[in-house]
């Protein structure tokens, strides 16, 4: 039975020791949807999206991506991961590879794309994230914002159906946040499914199709951004928004 959802959580439970980090998670994300996950620190946002590509395993319930269930098995997991790109808070570019090599590494080694083709695609991606002149630069030679844009290009190089963002701007200086958000905004209109954990409420409001609010491992509220930001229903969401939007 094919699932109409790009990503589906069903009855998911996860514990770190006695800490119940994901509780009764049911969430269906449609193809092309841009879902923004917000909530206080430690509410389980990052853990939630790390379950989508199997960086974390769930203890109960199921997570499916494109109708395929995530299990801990090597080959099947790698097959799912090929379709799910991820962008991390701390970039995690390969420090011993140039920007271009960072982007071509997975296509060449995982998808067996010929080097020449991978490189021309990588150059097109660098163009797309606004860094065509940085192909030969090593990560240490790039600013934080530039590194994160290369990391986005690297994730896109595998032509994923789903792109996960784990607080992509939290490690950046304020003046670099915009350049990364601009790239993400442009992506949101391309039809790729995006799940974004962020504290950038402006981004959530402008680009998100849906806001999911988490607190203490639960999904407490989900709504269209307009409604969530103007009239949150849940008291904990109200408290969170009053704190984060106060200044």
């Amino acid at each position: 039975m094919p699932s109409p959802s790009a990503i589906e959580f069903s009855g998911v439970q996860k514990w770190f020791g006695t800490n119940h980090v994901l509780a009764d998670i049911d969430l269906a994300i449609a193809p092309g949807e841009v879902v923004v996950i917000v909530g206080p620190s430690g509410s389980g946002k990052s853990t939630l999206i790390r379950c989508i590509n199997g960086l974390e395993a769930v203890q109960q319930g199921t997570v499916t991506v494109d109708g395929r269930r995530l299990t801990a098995k090597g080959g099947e997991l790698a097959a799912i991961r090929r379709n799910v790109g991820m962008v991390f808070q701390a970039f995690h570019l390969y420090p011993h590879k140039t920007a271009l090599e960072n982007i071509t590494l997975a296509p060449i080694n995982v998808k067996r794309v010929p080097r020449e083709q991978a490189e021309s695609e990588a150059r097109a991606l660098l163009e797309r994230v606004g860094l065509p002149e940085k192909a030969a630069a090593y990560p240490a030679e790039l600013s934080g914002g530039q590194q994160q844009r290369v990391a986005i290009a690297r994730a896109l190089a595998m032509q994923p159906k789903v792109l996960l963002f784990d607080e992509p701007t939290s490690a950046l200086d304020p003046e670099m946040i915009k350049e990364v958000l601009d790239v993400m905004k442009a992506l949101a209109h391309t039809g790729i499914t995006m799940v974004v954990v962020t504290h950038e409420m402006g981004f959530a409001r402008e680009v998100g199709d849906r806001v999911v609010f988490m607190d203490a491992g639960h999904i407490v509220e989900q709504a269209a951004p307009e409604r969530f930001f103007s009239a949150p229903a849940n008291p904990r969401a109200q408290l969170f928004l009053s704190k984060i939007l106060a200044h």
Binding site: L55, A78, R81, H96, N109
Partner: protein
């Protein structure tokens, strides 16, 4: 004293140069073998497989507790009786130096691997790379660059320690120096000075080569 013709003549210098050749050959073989074996031992010690981990740990900790001289004697006198094959001094010396240094390299490699940020491995895994690919393309290259200074220091020590193989009759540089000053005019000081200069030059070159590898990226 001023006439050093007894030292700086073609015959004596050729003799000493031959010793340098033996020293460098021994060091090169031991560097190559101990580097590869050290990586294998480090991976075994980090393995998920319990038995492998214990075997590697015993080897590494055991070898580190022994004097190198004992290991050299063992390789020359005891090992042939165990394996039933007679070993010439050079082979026994190469085995001893490789086996001894492998244990030390293993600990350097292990520290290097553990120092690779976990997030990099997650990034690689999230792109669908297999564990073997991650090790080969991400973990080891980054680890080796980080551990280059410690590794070069270890290999400099190894090059110097080749002189210990003189005790099993290998005619390497130090042993040949000894032979030269044991003959008329029996003057050790010029010989020692020359040997020191040669060792210094060889190790300086080794350290420079290591530094070049180190700064090539990162």
């Amino acid at each position: 004293m001023t006439d050093l013709g007894w030292l700086f003549n073609r015959g004596t210098l050729t003799f000493l140069a031959g010793g340098l050749g033996v020293t460098l050959e021994l060091a090169a073989i031991a560097i190559a073998i101990s580097f590869v074996a050290g990586i294998v031992l480090a991976l075994a010690r980090l393995s998920r497989w319990h038995v492998l981990r214990i075997v590697a740990t015993i080897y590494i900790e055991g070898m580190r507790a022994l004097p190198l001289l004992l290991v050299i004697f063992f390789a020359y006198f005891a090992l042939p009786r165990i394996i039933g094959v007679k070993l010439d001094p050079f082979t026994a010396g190469a085995i001893a130096l490789s086996a001894f240094t492998a244990a030390l390299v293993a600990e350097i490699v292990r520290a290097g691997i553990l120092a690779v940020p976990k997030g990099l491995l997650e990034a690689a895994a999230s792109q669908g790379l297999s564990p073997a690919q991650i090790l080969r393309i991400v973990t080891l290259p980054i680890a080796v660059r980080q551990m280059m200074p410690a590794l070069v220091a270890q290999f400099v020590t190894l090059l110097k320690d080749t002189s210990l193989t003189a005790v099993i009759g290998i005619l390497e540089l130090t042993r040949r120096g000894q032979i030269v000053f044991a003959q008329p005019p029996f003057q050790p000081i010029p010989v020692f000075a020359l040997l020191a200069l040669i060792y210094f030059t060889a190790n300086f070159g080794l350290a420079q080569a290591g530094r070049r590898l180190e700064t090539r990226t990162l």
